[in-house]
């Protein structure tokens, strides 16, 4: 699936003890960088990607030949201005864009499949922390990311409280809700119900559970959009036909759109990675790590927080983002918060939403000026 030559990797020699109890070492982390690190090494921003993202944040992704997942936000003169900042992003462990994951081989040269250890958000950020040493960065200027990226942001600053000056979690949560877990379970069931999944050993059986993975993606994609957004974009419009066909083809544009989203997704994503990463999200409960007191997660940091949510995001709704604000306020942390008006649903953070992009830019640039 990967064209190795376009992927930069850091081999982490240091053993990493995972939450599941297993230890991994000599494992690869695939990363990409944008902009340049200044001589003081104080302009670095670590970006964390969401469930199906990867290290190719902006510009053309050399593997998929499509625009990077955060091209609206990251680039020269954009909200995260690569003329000014050094942006680092890495593929999460468990992923399928070069970082250690279920499509890799175990020490016996057998593809892991579901024998890969179950990883957590905590494991992901502990693995990515090695990038700071790699680049000789003592303190990042900022860490940011949306959705699962936001969870990593929260976990990172909790684990490494003095390693970032600013912290920008976007459209996220400190604890995966029952509804979130339910949607992820739906996706996993779709994958494992595909007879080509073969208990996760599809690679050695030369099959691919593409149908199951596509359904998982279709279901998830609906949760990223809002009812209003869907209605305005598709309504009941028909797909290249004058009238209903009284069959089960894609009569409606929304059906065709979802089928397309499912089909392009399977070309770039590994089914087992989807299982592992959704599991990591489901296991995420930062408050639980601190005996139910979320504030304790941030008690040791002096970082400046800025939290952003979106009005039409029902997957990680404003209230769940505000819970993080409340936890920070209750310990007197420096925290700002804004809810952006948008009808583009959870996906708003990935799209051209000017109020969001200007808030992000203003926060970063003004904070950087105060450096």
């Amino acid at each position: 699936m990967n064209t190795e030559k376009n992927i930069k990797t850091l081999i982490v020699k240091k053993p990493l003890i995972l939450d599941c109890g297993k230890t991994i070492k000599d494992f690869p982390i695939a990363y990409e960088t944008y902009g340049s690190l200044n001589s003081n090494k104080d302009n670095a921003i670590l970006v964390f990607h969401a469930l199906t993202g990867d290290q190719f944040v902006t510009g053309i992704n050399p593997i998929t030949n499509k625009e990077g997942w955060w091209s609206y936000a990251v680039g020269p003169d954009k909200a995260i201005d690569t003329n000014k900042y050094f942006v680092i992003c890495s593929n999460v462990i468990g992923g399928c864009m070069g970082s250690y994951g279920p499509s890799h081989k175990d020490p016996d040269q057998k593809i892991f499949g579901t024998n890969f250890p179950v990883i957590t958000i905590n494991d992901m950020v502990n693995a990515q922390y090695n990038l700071l040493d790699h680049f000789g960065i003592d303190k990042l200027f900022s860490i940011t990311g949306g959705s699962m990226g936001g969870m990593q942001v929260l976990q990172f600053i909790s684990n490494f409280p003095d390693k970032s000056k600013t912290v920008v979690p976007i459209a996220t949560t400190s604890s995966h809700s029952a509804q979130n877990i339910a949607f992820n379970e739906l996706g996993r069931q779709a994958i494992t119900a595909d007879s080509n999944w073969k208990d996760g050993n599809y690679a050695s059986n030369d099959t691919n559970p593409g149908k199951g993975l596509a359904v998982a993606r279709m279901a998830a994609h609906i949760t990223y959009l809002s009812k209003k957004g869907l209605q305005e974009k598709f309504g009941r419009k028909l797909q290249e036909r004058e009238d209903l066909k009284f069959g089960f083809d894609a009569d409606f544009q929304i059906e065709s759109y979802l089928r397309y989203q499912g089909s392009v997704f399977v070309d770039r994503f590994d089914a087992n990675s989807y299982l592992y990463i959704t599991r990591a999200m489901d296991y995420f409960d930062l408050a639980k790590q601190f005996n139910g007191n979320l504030s304790e997660a941030f008690i040791n940091t002096n970082a400046k927080f800025f939290i952003i949510s979106f009005t039409s995001d029902w997957l990680y709704p404003t209230q769940e983002n505000k819970d993080i604000v409340i936890a920070l306020n209750s310990i007197g942390a420096d925290v700002g918060f804004v809810e952006i008006e948008s009808d583009k649903g959870h996906d708003s953070f990935l799209l051209d939403v000017p109020d969001f992009l200007s808030a992000l830019k203003n926060f970063l640039d003004k904070s950087y000026e105060e450096n």
Binding site: N329, N362, F363
Partner: protein
């Protein structure tokens, strides 16, 4: 910057921690941050105003004072400022209690309904008063609980809230309000500024 903000700023010592409730575009916050090295936070309900604050590099939380003050711990700010907004809340008494819980001290300013121009307007025109500090029509005003300087003075006393300083503002002049000149100040000031503590 309006004179009211200058008077408020003069009440706050350097290097303090301050929460500006209903901070609008952050003008006062910016002044306090730049001139008095204040560790300043804002709470603002309008998304547009929040964006303006962010553009000024200010730490602001989008929220509603009636619901969102409760997340701040007791006495977590040296001062909490509430400028000309108390009368716009559904429950001003509750908000006042919250200001005094969150702040060691609170600075509250109120547009004075006892101002002679307001009285004059109602008396002779017979319509709801419109002045510089009360610019809206009766049907679109955000103000639900108008009061006079005298009302507020008595209200605060009745709640055993300590008044450190109360000032009457009329255009560019500010003067001390006390028990003995309350009637006069209530007539000639269009704004009252109170530094209080509980």
């Amino acid at each position: 910057m309006k004179n009211e903000f200058q008077v408020i700023a003069d009440l706050i010592e350097k290097d303090k921690k301050v929460l500006d409730v209903g901070c609008a575009d952050g003008t006062l916050m910016k002044f306090l941050k730049d001139n008095k090295n204040i560790n300043i936070r804002g709470l603002e309900i309008s998304k547009e105003k929040v964006q303006e604050c962010i553009a000024k590099g200010l730490t602001v939380i989008e929220g509603n004072a009636e619901k969102d003050l409760k997340q701040f711990p007791d006495k977590s700010f040296d001062y909490v400022v509430l400028s000309q907004t108390l009368q716009a809340f559904l429950n001003p008494e509750l908000v006042l209690d919250e200001l005094l819980r969150v702040g060691k001290k609170a600075i509250v300013t109120i547009p004075n309904f006892g101002y002679w121009k307001v009285r004059f307007h109602l008396l002779f025109k017979g319509t709801m008063p419109i002045t510089k500090t009360l610019p809206d029509e009766w049907y679109n005003t955000p103000n639900l609980h108008m009061c006079t300087i005298k009302d507020f003075f008595h209200f605060v006393k009745s709640k055993d809230i300590k008044i450190f300083k109360s000032l009457a503002l009329n255009n560019l002049n500010s003067s001390i309000i006390n028990e003995s000149n309350l009637g006069v100040k209530n007539l000639f000031a269009d704004l009252g500024i109170f530094l209080i503590e509980k």
